[in-house]
Symmetry: C2
């Protein structure tokens, strides 16, 4: 790094994210510039695959868009939580399934220009059904099971627009070398 | 929507994003809850494809991670800017290439749980080389041209972690039906 951080201050403490403003000084030019970062605890995503190849997904009401999106199961890391534990926990809470086998596919940075969010992505297999902990509440979370072909079609026609979901499916496909 | 927005306030005005806090009241339960949103102007991404199938990418220093990432060319929308114009503009600024043909692949929501960022994704073809407007500065933006096979490998081994890049490549592949 060819800059120095002169100062760093959290100017907003939020429920999901904080806002931090750093002042950095470039060593070469001596210029001083502010850097504003949305500081996020990160999260974990699972790609839950059933024996017939279908992927278990959920519908989520997303407040920033006032829309219900079709997504892979995912959630924020609790403080100090292992991402794999988080992926398993969120899978069960959101879908009822428990994964007997879980393996890492990788990580993504959702919006690295201004946000520190990292999502860790896991393949979840050998799924045992159960009752999901989150009741179908006012916002109507539903479990949906789709083939890879159906998911591809929904990405193509704009019915799936959630970045972590498109990334998770891609990483699953690349890692298992499954192709249509 | 089965809730009412009681009030809405921007509590942080930033350079890249604002923070808005809404108070919503569920019509059913009557419960009142806050919703904190990172409000972002959105942006545009291009998937620039050369006649030999290679994809033009750039390296970007990303402050939230203090890392240099390998990404598709992209940038924020100027106020009122058409996303396709933005995609073309950022392509030229970042790589020097001008696209004679540009077509829409779709859109993604980068982090829909808390952030309103939408990225519009375009396929850029018939590229004419030129000099890129952004000098290789202190943060070393470089232009890199990679085959789809190399990109897949870099997604698999964690050398490409930027969500919009993984999504853009996936949407390109699905739309052109190109496969390895």
């Amino acid at each position: 790094m060819n800059f120095t951080i002169n100062k760093s201050e959290v100017v907003f403490h939020g429920k999901v994210f904080d806002v931090q403003i750093d002042e950095i000084k470039y060593n070469g030019s001596g210029n001083t510039v502010p850097r504003q970062v949305a500081v996020h605890p990160g999260g974990a995503v699972s790609v839950p695959v059933k024996p017939d190849g279908k992927i278990v997904m959920v519908t989520q009401f997303r407040y920033p868009f006032k829309e219900v999106l079709l997504e892979l199961p995912a959630g924020k890391l609790d403080k100090g939580e292992d991402p794999q534990i988080c992926a398993s926990r969120e899978l069960t809470e959101e879908t009822g399934y428990t994964a007997q086998k879980i393996s890492r596919l990788g990580k993504i940075f959702t919006s690295p220009g201004f946000c520190s969010e990292v999502l860790h992505i896991y393949l979840a297999e050998d799924l045992i059904p159960g009752r999901h902990a989150r009741e179908e509440g006012e916002e109507g979370m539903e479990v949906v099971e789709l083939s890879l072909e159906d998911i591809d079609e929904k990405i193509k026609n704009g019915k799936i627009v959630d970045a972590k979901t498109i990334c998770g499916i891609t990483m699953y496909r690349l890692n298992t070398e499954r192709r249509r």
